[in-house]
């Protein structure tokens, strides 16, 4: 099959859907709505009408969030079906990210109940329990009385090895952070393999998108965990995503072992990502005074905004380019998940009665 026949249908379908995606006016109207009820009602008559209906019938925001997740998973599955084998497997890798987040949520519930001894009561209902990519018994995770029992729920999945590296005791002392980082890294490894399996322009596009993503995330990790949380070199090495240019350079230069890793990496970052060089230069490694932490956080937000802008530009460029590549699929998922995340954030903001400005700030608008 040619690339045209591989992608013609999915390209036409997704472009039509992208065309029907909402502009900023829906989000603006939701932000302006004075209450959660009114904000949710704005979703009527849009592709998110089901969410408005869920809220109207349950009044439960977490139920709405579950509905968003269900729609998102259904969208991945649908697109998988339209693609030939290799790109379809790559979409499955992308869906593993959703699965990873779902696993984290389930383990958090288990942790809350079994380790912290807080009753989780009805909260388990908001976990997506059907199969996403791998056969995981989420009920078993949530109801496990021991770590061993919980880890057994992941038998014969790629997460089995990850869970085997931890124990009840280790989690009790360090919390879930190391486990969650390991789950993330597992996904990134799968992503790397998935990209490697793609061919030609598909691989080039995916590589370009995710290498920048990973690099900027690694920069943020170094800034956040080394400067704000003073993580030791071993810890820092552990949180860094083991792929991409920045991670490679950090290994090569031994930057993570240095007192000030960014001092070593600054010139590399400036050469590759000159757009954030000013933010990087402004970040200070000083004592834990609140002003410095606050200022550093501001720079982190700016770097995140840059990442988001860069993604947007990249996907816009892809949409204007060759239609018969995986690019249009990735663009669609980016736009879709961005819109879903914005809606989720606005509804949460309304629930917590945040001001319009605070919601806009959180959304980077």
């Amino acid at each position: 099959m040619s690339r045209v026949s591989d992608y013609a249908f999915v390209n036409a379908k997704l472009r039509a859907r992208i065309g029907m995606m909402h502009d900023r006016s829906l989000l603006d109207e939701m932000i302006k709505a004075p209450s959660l009820t009114e904000a949710a009602a704005k979703l009527d008559g849009t592709r998110h009408a089901l969410l408005a209906e869920v809220y109207r019938s349950t009044g439960d925001l977490q139920q709405v969030e579950l509905a968003i997740l269900e729609e998102e998973i259904a969208a991945y599955r649908e697109i998988e079906r339209y693609l030939p084998d290799i790109p379809s497997r790559f979409i499955s890798v992308l869906l593993e990210k959703v699965e990873g987040d779902n696993i984290k949520n389930a383990i958090r519930l288990w942790y809350s109940d079994a380790v912290r001894h807080h009753a989780i009561s009805y909260r388990s209902s908001y976990i997506y329990k059907k199969r996403i990519v791998h056969g995981i018994d989420y009920d078993k995770v949530i109801n496990a009385s021991s770590y061993k029992e919980m880890a057994a729920a992941f038998r014969d999945t790629p997460y089995e090895d990850v869970l085997a590296r931890f124990s009840s005791e280790s989690l009790a002392s360090t919390g879930l952070f190391p486990l969650e980082i390991e789950l993330d890294h597992t996904w990134f490894r799968h992503l790397e393999e998935g990209i490697r399996d793609l061919s030609g322009s598909d691989r080039r596009i995916a590589e370009k998108i995710y290498s920048v993503d990973v690099d900027l995330k690694n920069i943020l990790m170094i800034v956040r965990y080394s400067y704000s949380y003073h993580l030791r070199p071993e810890g820092l090495r552990h949180v860094m995503i083991p792929m991409g240019y920045i991670a490679g350079e950090a290994r090569k230069t031994g930057a993570l072992d240095a007192e000030d890793p960014m001092a070593i990496l600054r010139s590399i970052v400036q050469r590759h990502y000159p757009q954030i060089s000013e933010e990087i230069a402004r970040i200070r490694r000083t004592a834990d005074d609140l002003t410095t932490i606050d200022e550093n956080n501001r720079e982190i937000v700016l770097i995140e905004e840059y990442l988001s802008e860069r993604r947007k530009k990249e996907y816009t460029r892809i949409l204007a380019g060759n239609p018969f590549t995986i690019g249009v699929v990735l663009s669609y998922f980016f736009l879709r998940t961005t819109e879903d995340a914005s809606i989720r954030a606005i509804l949460s903001g309304k629930y917590y009665q945040w001001s319009e400005d605070k919601i806009r700030e959180a959304l980077g608008l």
């Binding site: 209450s35 009602a41 439960d60 989780i120 009920d139």
Partner: protein, 662 residues
Amino acid sequence: MSMFTRKMRMLTAVVLESDRDEVVRSLLEKGVMEFVHIDSLPAEKMSKLSSHSSVVPKAVLSDMRVRIETLLKEGSLAIPELNADDAEAMSPIDADSCRRYLDKLSLSLQSIRDSQKAVNQQMNAAEELIRYSTDGRNSDYLDARVGINTHGSASDLRARLEQIGGIFLFDRKPFISLTLRRDSARVTDVMDKFGWTESTDPEAQRNAVAEATAEAKAIVEGCRARLAELSKEAQSRIREKADELIAMWKTVRLHELCEHVESFFSYTKNTTLFSGWVPADESDGIAKLIYSASSGRCIIEWTDADDVPREEVPVEMTSPRIFQPFERMVNNYGTPEYGSINPTPFTTVAYLCMFALMFADLGQGFILLLVGLAGKWLYKKNPTKPDGLISRYLCSLLIFLGPASMAGGLLFGSCFGFSLIPALWFNFDAVVEGEPVQGLINDIYDILGITIKFGIVIIYLGLLLNWVNLVRKKRFFELVFDKNGIVGGALYALGIWFAWGFVDSGYRTFPSSWFFAPALIACLVLVFIKCPVHFLILKVKGERTEGIGRLVIDTVMETLVEVLEIFSGLLSNTLSFMRVAGLGIAHASLMSAFYQMAAMPGNAAAQVLIMLLGNVLVIVLEGLSAGIQSLRLNYYEFFTKYFTGHGVAFEPVGLKSRIVAD
């Protein structure tokens, strides 16, 4: 109906400040004026004018209106319409009190949603227990206990257990407690405090899970009913306030419209100035209206559209209501230039002819008509119903397309794919199937020929309309030299004559005639001299021109490109109409295929079913294709000849105007 766009005049008026509100109200009631900002006065005069200052800013009013509309929709209430009485009874607005009222209503709705949330959580918790109990995992995840408390009160025990979550049957003895195993430690803790003693009755122990599950199911049912009840309560809470909300909406909307209109006004100390476009046939009425609203204390000046650059004059087409679906097609393409031909009637005829040729079937056309009428009726019955796959617009269109298809069916003798009726023109299905047919049309090539002739008529009609437009716009240079002008038309005519002669000779010889060579040369000369003539015109007008070198290059290049464009463009435009035959043939072939498939099983029921399914499939797929192709032919082959789409739509502000928001 006018053949051309509606004639416009620009009104500029000065009224006393004290008469302003009355004038605004009257103009809103009339709803025929598109306001424009006054910016043509000299700077020193403009500096003496002050702009409008709002009591309540329009953005605030717009947000408030949107908020009321959201609440009305939440209560399944239709958004009202304004009428003259509402404008007459317009009251001052107290934005703060409106906001407070809406906040209060919103808060009360939120409290219902919060109650729903609590019920939903209770339901989720019970559902989890039911799930484990019914899918055979009760021993893994459930913790059933049967017993009694030996000290403390049972109600206290129950209250403490309910905080953990589970099903507790305490209205009988021994008590039953069904909780999740993950909560066992917490349950044991509580029970120990109340001296829980487990029952030794084996039957009670055996039945405990089933009894508790039945109770959980009852709780879930109760929760579901309560959720529906609360949902209705939220709706009825809005409906109870319907009158107030509608009255508030009207007040807010009226003030919003007034703010919108007044944002175009300018003021001196005692007077108000405003300006706007009005259809010429309404100008006397508007003048009288302003005189009457201001008790004659006003000055009105009129400017004719001819004195204003054409591109600044708003455009309105005055097609009869019946043509509305086709006017929308035209508007989707663009707005015609002011003073040009109204494309709607031509589009209507062309579209319907194309559709009738592509989808010619008496029976299927009747189905389309029925669907259109039924849809119209249903939407009329449920005015708040959102558009479905068969939208309101599609229903209006189907009411035209159905009869067009039926007319096509009568011409070609086709009814549900059968030749049930005698053809008024020729039997299309028989020709497609290669059966002997007597008359002028004998095979598929003859059908293709008909559609090409039809295309030529459409293209010439487009060119003719373009010439009329150019004459009205006094663009004589384009009229003569443009590829859609006379030279283009003449070259097209020569091409048609030449091609016809060639086809007539059985594709053996090219035709020859005394006029062909001189006419062709004359046309090519006209194409060649287009650039030099344009150069001369600019020179005479004293406008800036390029050098001679550039002129030579432009002349050579433009001649080549223009000749190529005229020939290839018009040729492809003409051949494009073969799709009309193509779709018609596909329609007949598909129906014939279903007819043959239906004959295969030799069973009457199967035959009917196959023909039924075949007809449905053909109506949906072919109907859609024919509709899209007709639109495409109109947009690309017809409109491109005479329709620039450079106009600006006339948008008068009135009580029934579309939403005005910044």
